[in-house]
């Protein structure tokens, strides 16, 4: 019996071994070796830094420059998550009706997803700088401090709602039509049907979409690095970009690495909180 159990555990672990190999190689080892950096005052250029214990982590709490990046990241994450899901839901609701052109529309709404983010940013920067001013006579929205975050959000909503839309389409199609029929018989109008039947029953898809959207938006760095450089005047410097700047521009790699770990904690906690909230509201069929 015992040998069988051991044999079973062994053969079970063979399932996990290839995965763990890659995972250790790409994630765990670099993750932990990065701690070395966070406990030093390494500048990112010299061969080594001096060990300074928890000083980097302590200094984070005395760093007034960290507040704005956090605010910007949260603002962007909220905006992005809200709009990706709102737009995706609207698109999904639209496209699940029968009308001519809906398959084409579904394809069109999904197309931006296949575009690399670098290209999407490039195209949209061109649109913001050359096309929109030409058509509407406005100034470049992504270069103005008051509109830079919404403008950047538009890019990622455009590029990201395709995936969310498809998930919502699936969830919507799993709602049995009988429920709508009996609701109509009971006198429920479209709004009622939407809020009392549809939305509660597709909660599971909300969990996935909102959790993943929010956590990945929080840590967004590439978008701001490529689209705005954090400008104008730092008005779009997200937390990720602030970390990046410390690591590579300000020559404060130790501090930057410590920031990165702390920020990771915030991201993971948000993810757990969000998925817990939404999981609780999922309705079992």
């Amino acid at each position: 019996m015992r040998i069988n159990q051991i044999k079973k555990s062994l053969s079970n672990s063979t399932f996990l071994i290839p995965t763990l190999l890659f995972f250790f190689f790409a994630v765990m080892y670099p993750f932990f070796s990065g701690f070395n950096i966070a406990f030093t005052n390494w500048d990112g250029i010299s061969p080594k830094g001096e060990f300074i214990g928890l000083n980097n982590f302590i200094n984070i709490f005395h760093d007034p420059d960290i507040i704005r990046p956090i605010r910007i990241s949260v603002e962007y994450a909220l905006l992005n998550t809200f709009f990706i899901n709102l737009v995706a839901l609207i698109l999904a609701l639209g496209v699940t009706n029968a009308y001519r052109g809906r398959t084409i529309h579904r394809m069109i709404f999904f197309m931006p997803t296949a575009l690399s983010s670098v290209l999407a940013i490039f195209i949209w920067n061109y649109i913001y700088g050359e096309v929109l001013p030409e058509i509407f006579g406005i100034s470049n929205p992504i270069a103005s401090m008051s509109t830079v975050i919404p403008a950047a959000t538009l890019i990622t909503v455009w590029g990201g709602c395709g995936v969310a839309m498809v998930i919502y389409i699936a969830a919507l199609s799993s709602v049995p039509t009988e429920m709508y029929e009996s609701a109509k018989v009971d006198g429920a109008n479209a709004m009622h049907r939407l809020f009392k039947i549809t939305l509660p029953l597709i909660m599971a898809s909300f969990t996935i979409n909102i959790t993943i959207n929010f956590t990945s938006s929080l840590s967004s760095t590439g978008l701001f690095l490529v689209a705005t450089g954090g400008g104008p005047a730092g008005s779009s410097e997200s937390m990720g970009l602030y970390i990046y700047n410390n690591l590579f521009i300000y020559n404060r790699a130790g501090y930057g690495q410590a920031l990165a770990y702390l920020f990771l904690l915030i991201v993971v906690i948000s993810g757990v909180v969000l998925s817990t909230i939404f999981r609780k509201r999922e309705v079992e069929m």
């Binding site: 913001y128 270069a143 103005s144 005047a233």
Partner: protein
């Protein structure tokens, strides 16, 4: 479904075949042809990481590597092209891993740790005497080579000036403002400012700083960083500079912060705008847009005393205390091929390479005794040089570097955008920000 999947795989394979055909013709790495019979010399591969994207620059790289391998047939080059934005990041990452390229370029003033950690090979020898500007450390050592002479000045479209009835470029600040008014009256935008690409704002301020502050206060940059002096205690006329910067901002096309560098150049080429305030790589860029552009350049007229408004370039430190590492091309001191890398740097500083540089990139070479007729825009500068009327800002550091640069330019942008334009408040904010960064 199975059929479509097969199709996808076949397509993928088909494309791999196509690319296999294509790649055998691709040879992005120029290789030295080993002269038959050079069996004694071991092949040395020099790894050069750069961030040059324009065709003219790439032509310079190609010719430079070609010429050098003629001199040293056992040398091969391995070129890595990076995007300018990511260049420093990747360079530092590679250094941290011990994987530095043999040849790279870096601003050592912003990154003195490169020298302090012994990464930069020392550059010595008579070749330094061929250069107009040589950066020397306090100990008199040179660690980086400038291949180009940067002329920070105002570049203008001569036709646009003529159209507005401006006979000759302004020589004082009052004349500059007059010229702007004339241009506006003729329906021409005085200055094209492409500040969406934020480095152009930085350079505009360099142009204004060099003759007004750099020429007289060589250590201003370091003193501000070490907090020996402050912005509020303005001994250098920085407040006046602020006013000039905002005047230029107000006399640019609409939405300067939203206009790209490329668009700004378009405005200059078409004559919709008359001036661009930037550095001497501009004419080369403009030529790729319009080979016949009628451009000229004149010194930034910051003062109301015309004799103070001359062309100005870097030079030897006026006060040896202020000697700085400078920046430019350097060789990795810990490379096994260090000696050959240094030889290549020396070659880059030669008159021959200077000529290749000027002919291809249309920028001013740092090598002495080169003909100045390769680009008509620089005629006025050439004249000033022969008349010995070019000033020097010595070892004045243009960039603050690191986080100082960031808070500095952020505050300037805030100032330009603010409605109240309260210069005193900006000076206070700058000091507060610099204090904060200094503590970190």
């Amino acid at each position: 479904m199975k059929k479509k999947f097969k199709l996808a795989i076949v397509l993928a394979l088909g494309m791999s075949l196509l690319s296999a055909c294509g790649s055998s013709n691709e040879n992005p790495v120029p290789e030295a042809t080993e002269a038959a019979g050079t069996t004694e010399a071991k092949t040395i591969t020099l790894r050069w990481m750069h961030h040059i994207q324009e065709e003219s620059g790439k032509a310079w790289i190609e010719k430079s590597t070609e010429e050098f391998t003629k001199l040293y047939p056992n040398v091969e080059f391995e070129l890595t092209a990076m995007n300018a934005d990511n260049y420093n990041t990747m360079l530092k990452t590679k250094l941290a891993a011990g994987d530095a390229p043999d040849i790279f370029d870096i601003d050592l003033n912003s990154n003195p740790q490169f020298v302090e950690n012994g990464y930069m090979a020392e550059l010595t020898g008579p070749f330094l005497d061929n250069l107009l500007v040589v950066d020397k450390s306090k100990e008199g050592k040179t660690y980086a080579l400038r291949t180009e002479l940067t002329l920070y000045s105002i570049y203008y479209n001569k036709d646009a000036f003529a159209k507005a009835g401006i006979e000759s470029p302004p020589t004082t600040w009052a004349e500059f403002m007059e010229a702007c008014e004339k241009l506006k009256a003729a329906g021409i935008i005085p200055v094209a400012s492409g500040y969406k690409d934020s480095w152009t704002l930085n350079n505009m301020i360099h142009v204004a700083k060099a003759p007004s502050i750099g020429a007289y206060h060589e250590s201003w940059t370091q003193d501000l960083k070490s907090r020996k002096t402050s912005f509020v205690d303005d001994q250098v006329g920085f407040k006046d500079l602020l006013n000039q910067i905002t005047y230029i901002y107000d006399n640019s096309q609409s939405d300067p912060l939203g206009t790209t560098w490329d668009k700004a150049q378009d405005l200059l080429v078409s004559g919709e705008a008359a001036m661009i305030i930037n550095g001497s790589w501009l004419p080369g860029n403009i030529r790729t847009k319009d080979a016949d552009a009628n451009l000229g350049t004149f010194p930034y007229p910051w003062s109301d005393d015309a004799s103070k408004n001359r062309f100005i370039i870097a030079g030897e430190a006026k006060n040896s205390e202020n000697a700085s590492y400078g920046g430019g091309y350097g060789a990795y001191a810990k490379s096994p091929n260090k000696d050959m890398a240094v030889k290549f740097i020396e070659y880059l500083g030669s008159v021959e390479n200077g000529k290749i540089m000027q002919d291809n990139r249309k920028t001013l070479s740092n090598a002495k005794n080169l003909p100045m007729d390769f680009e008509p825009t620089f005629d006025s500068f050439a004249q000033a040089q022969s008349a010995n009327e070019v000033l020097s800002y010595g070892a004045f550091q243009m960039d603050f570097g690191g986080e100082y640069d960031k808070v500095f330019y952020d505050e300037i942008i805030n100032y330009m955008l603010s409605k109240s334009r309260n210069a005193d408040e900006t000076l206070k904010n700058l000091d507060a920000a610099f204090d904060r960064v200094a503590k970190k």
